[in-house]
Symmetry: none
């Protein structure tokens, strides 16, 4: 039997979740429900939840700070964010804070219960649109101003290779490598390796 606590300030939603879990499942029990993270955190040692269902918009400490906080105390507890926000910043912040999954409030009952099962199975449930956001964050969209050769050179530079290493690897002279790098700096408006690599990475050129 997995112990669940709910952190949700809207009483109706809180009760709906509780009812749903208690009537529709036999593997989960809601040991407590709180309206604020502060309250939940104060009782963590007593509740020892396996799973926390966490809202984001909460009075006082928000759900993301709460997530970070709870994970420090109970690192093995899974925290499932249930939020109205599909905004990418919220999602990433929550995941960075240590949330296990992120589903939206408009998910239906079946989806919520499946999410609980997925969490228990070591998974990371995310609603379709959320998963899309996460995947999108891995993608590079923008057009690179760099030529293929320059991109090759920059990639090697990013690996920590020296001019000579790069020259050997792409079979050109050291001066040619230097030439390409000078052009890269010009295009990216930087003046050293680190800045070039950092900028190129953030822009998705490499």
């Amino acid at each position: 039997m997995k112990k669940i606590i709910i952190v949700e300030d809207n009483k109706d939603v809180q009760e709906a979740f509780q009812l749903l879990i208690e009537t529709q499942t036999s593997n989960y029990e809601v040991v407590n429900a709180y309206g604020t993270c502060e309250d939940a955190i104060n009782n963590l040692e007593v509740d020892l939840p396996d799973i926390v269902l966490m809202d984001i918009d909460l009075p006082g400490m928000n759900g993301i700070e709460g997530t970070r906080n709870i994970r420090q105390t109970l690192p093995r507890t899974d925290i499932l964010i249930i939020s109205v926000h599909e905004n990418s910043q919220y999602v990433f912040d929550a995941l960075c804070a240590g949330a296990t999954g992120y589903i939206t409030k408009n998910s239906n009952h079946t989806q919520l219960l499946r999410a609980l099962d997925e969490v228990s199975a070591g998974g990371a449930p995310m609603s379709t649109q959320i998963a899309k956001l996460v995947v999108k964050s891995f993608r590079r969209e923008s057009e690179s101003p760099l030529t293929n050769r320059e991109t090759d050179v920059l990639n090697l530079l990013a690996e920590g290779k020296s001019y000579m290493d790069i020259a050997d690897q792409i079979s050109v002279s050291k001066d040619t490598v230097k030439f390409h790098i000078k052009n890269i700096y010009l295009k990216l408006q930087v003046s050293n390796k680190i800045e070039a690599v950092t900028k190129a990475k953030s822009e998705g050129f490499i």
Copy 2:
């Protein structure tokens, strides 16, 4: 009717997918199946697929390069990776290359068909363990071996500052900065700025 192409060198798997899609769905049709990315790419303009089912281990161009390539030609086509690898590097590389979803080959028929529906609905299907990997990548767990001072120095280094810049900024001598950097290299087992910054970032130290 969504058009699908399959890129998979194993004939049995290829035919299994094809059969599955043709017999179990009415919204999808397999317009072609190829054993290599090269073949698939050569026929892209003719096939104009809505969805590409892509293997990773392929003779010649691998599935990740293939994904990058296809996305350049047909940016609106969804590419669903179907791979045996649950290795995080493969997953991230695939997502970075522009894959829409990543499911493992041991997924059952229902899961594969659901993945197709999710892709069509604008989602990003991932099998449970894959989603977990992705979520984990947002997390920072490890303890930094660096002292506070070293971390400060490394952060400035990561901004592209020179030894002198850093010295001025933290009000120590250039030699002291050098000293810290030497220790950073020692601790991170690297030998230049780029490697240090890259490693520290990937380990979450900065």
